[in-house]
Symmetry: C2
């Protein structure tokens, strides 16, 4: 393997594929990045066996070949080199890569590339397309409600459902729930209902840009995302996702709206006191005003007031302030719309766009502590 490449281009490529490099050292080769040169195409890939990322770019190739290099070390060196042409050459006898750039010379010891696992194939699959910006927004809103509890694997991911005209994503940790749907422009050949791992959502959120399209292919075990020259392959979570439709209320008794940034500020401040205890706040909405109170604990007390516009009877509910803040952070409208039934039913945040996008966020109430 022998080729020339610009420092910035190589560093950018390494930053993409580094995201799937294994964090633990059980299989040392998985802490590395696989490089392959064929003609003038350099392919970089990484995998932790759950997630795999592949990225290709054009270089000035001279001799084809492959190697696996320790990711952190390789990236750190490329980062510190000046933005100039880097000349790279493999010493195959030692699995050692030589990196030359102006007055710098590095030799990095790597691994035999034949020992690097292949990324899984997605076969005979259902496939469709989504605008990258749309998919990124869905991920942002659904990611917040995934569970950290590994004893219920299905809840650590998000349900991903595609029917002829709609794509839906749902996540819940049983105390709160995110539901988002968007109209689909391309048709899908069969119905899809799979669970995407939370960690995959996280990496997609980091990698997706606001422009372009994502191609998505799904089979029974894997999903593949293709965008901006990047291929992301993820294992799916096995198991059954809970029947979320039963949980989302059809109707409400009271509806109110408030200024998003004012409400966000007030809940954040009330939480500064509430979190010293169990982070529970009480919302009391009455016609023109919502009061937000922490319980009066050993460290103090917080009281906030926010102007609202309200329809229906007054409402009072205890909720986890952290769950409320999570949704206030990801909403991008000026106003927030909230619906309530009563103190024992979930508080529901709803938003809708003219394009047909729908977002519902549920927070289960906490029973009064008194």
């Amino acid at each position: 393997m022998k080729f020339s490449i610009n420092q910035k281009n190589l560093y950018n490529a390494l930053n993409i594929v580094r995201r799937a490099v294994a964090k633990n050292q059980t299989l040392p080769i998985l802490t590395g990045i696989f490089l392959n040169l064929k003609n003038n195409t350099l392919t970089l890939k990484s995998t932790d066996l759950e997630l795999g990322i592949e990225y290709k770019l054009q270089v000035e190739g001279q001799i084809d070949g492959s190697i696996v290099l320790p990711a952190t070390q390789f990236s750190n060196i490329i980062r510190e080199l000046p933005n100039e042409t880097i000349n790279i050459e493999l010493n195959k006898d030692k699995w050692q890569l030589q990196i030359k750039c102006i007055n710098s010379l590095f030799k990095i010891n790597g691994y035999d590339p034949d020992e690097f696992p292949n990324l899984p194939q997605v076969e005979e699959s259902a496939n469709f397309k989504l605008p990258s910006s749309k998919f990124k927004e869905m991920i942002k809103k659904v990611r917040i409600s995934t569970s950290k509890d590994e004893t219920q694997p299905a809840l650590t991911g998000a349900l991903f459902e595609v029917e002829s005209e709609k794509v839906k994503m749902v996540s819940t940790n049983t105390y709160r729930l995110s539901y988002i749907e968007a109209p689909l422009k391309t048709s899908v050949n069969e119905k899809i209902a799979v669970i995407l791992p939370g960690s995959t959502l996280q990496e997609l959120n980091n990698l997706l840009e606001d422009e372009g399209t994502v191609e998505i292919e799904v089979d029974n075990n894997y999903v593949r995302f293709n965008f901006a020259g990047i291929e992301v392959i993820s294992r799916l979570i096995e198991g059954k996702f809970p029947n979320y439709e039963l949980v989302i209320p059809d109707e409400s008794n009271s509806k109110f709206s408030a200024d998003l940034s004012q409400l966000h500020g007030s809940v954040k401040r009330a939480s500064l006191i509430a979190k010293l205890d169990a982070n529970i706040i009480t919302l009391s909405a009455d016609q023109e005003l919502m009061e937000i109170n922490s319980t009066e604990g050993s460290s103090g007390y917080a009281h906030e007031e926010v102007k609202i516009e309200m329809e229906g009877p007054e409402q009072k509910i205890n909720i986890d302030a952290g769950y409320f803040i999570d949704v206030l952070k990801v909403l991008d409208s000026e106003e927030i719309n909230i619906e309530m039934i009563g103190p024992l039913n979930p508080l529901v945040v709803k938003s809708k766009t003219e394009a047909g996008d729908k977002f519902i966020y549920l927070i289960m109430p906490v029973r009064s502590q008194s």
Copy 2:
């Protein structure tokens, strides 16, 4: 206690005094900030018994009084409030402070201010003045060489010597040494030679601004710094500082200069490989070129070349790359001047300004590993 204050002014004041708040919880009241209102002056202070900070500012006072408030909680709340007038009122029966700002109301439980220790007094002391920017620069260059080893307390701080016309600071962990001196414009009434704790240097570095003057008062046990309305009082380190003058070589065999940023880049890159081992690099200077090599270890090898101008015979030395990087970071010239005697004598970085400032940095060599 009852007064009004602008949010930004209060938050700024809290950020200053928070720096001396105790990090551990052994004496809970020391994790708090003492507030006192007298007429229209609000005094804030904090101490961890090693370091104390006091700051005064003008407010619209109504009722005088004092309280101690948990620092983190109080600062977090003030940070999240809008930049408006805050009304503060003490409920002395409960040692509870009420904070009102537009639609926000907080009550924070605090401590009886009589239980807060007084900051120590500096008595019958030697005193002098320094420009803040000069003192900050001295601290920046001397701070890097203090030791972390608590078994030799004197080395965890910096020697601070003042004679009639000069101020000197020296620090060493025995493997490297910083020496800096500057001419003194104001006269000092007696010779000073004390050891300032490393943590005090760190906080001074954070608090000092580039404008104004620092007044410094020293007695046998404490030192007081006065600048920009801030008073910092620090315990001195007892013990004897090693005789550093014997270590600084009077002469050298070879002198060379290099471009600082080029050398910095090269050493940083070579260290990426060297630090996977013991972080030792070999410098070989010969007339027009300095080579920087890592030892060839299990993970790889680095070789860098930097152009130099040199007088005297060729030199080769093994040093700790981290110690070298530390000084390359704090130098602010375009060029670096280095002097050497031989492979068993320290490498010496020297800089001098026309104003009479002098900086010397020594790195002890590491014996060749072969």
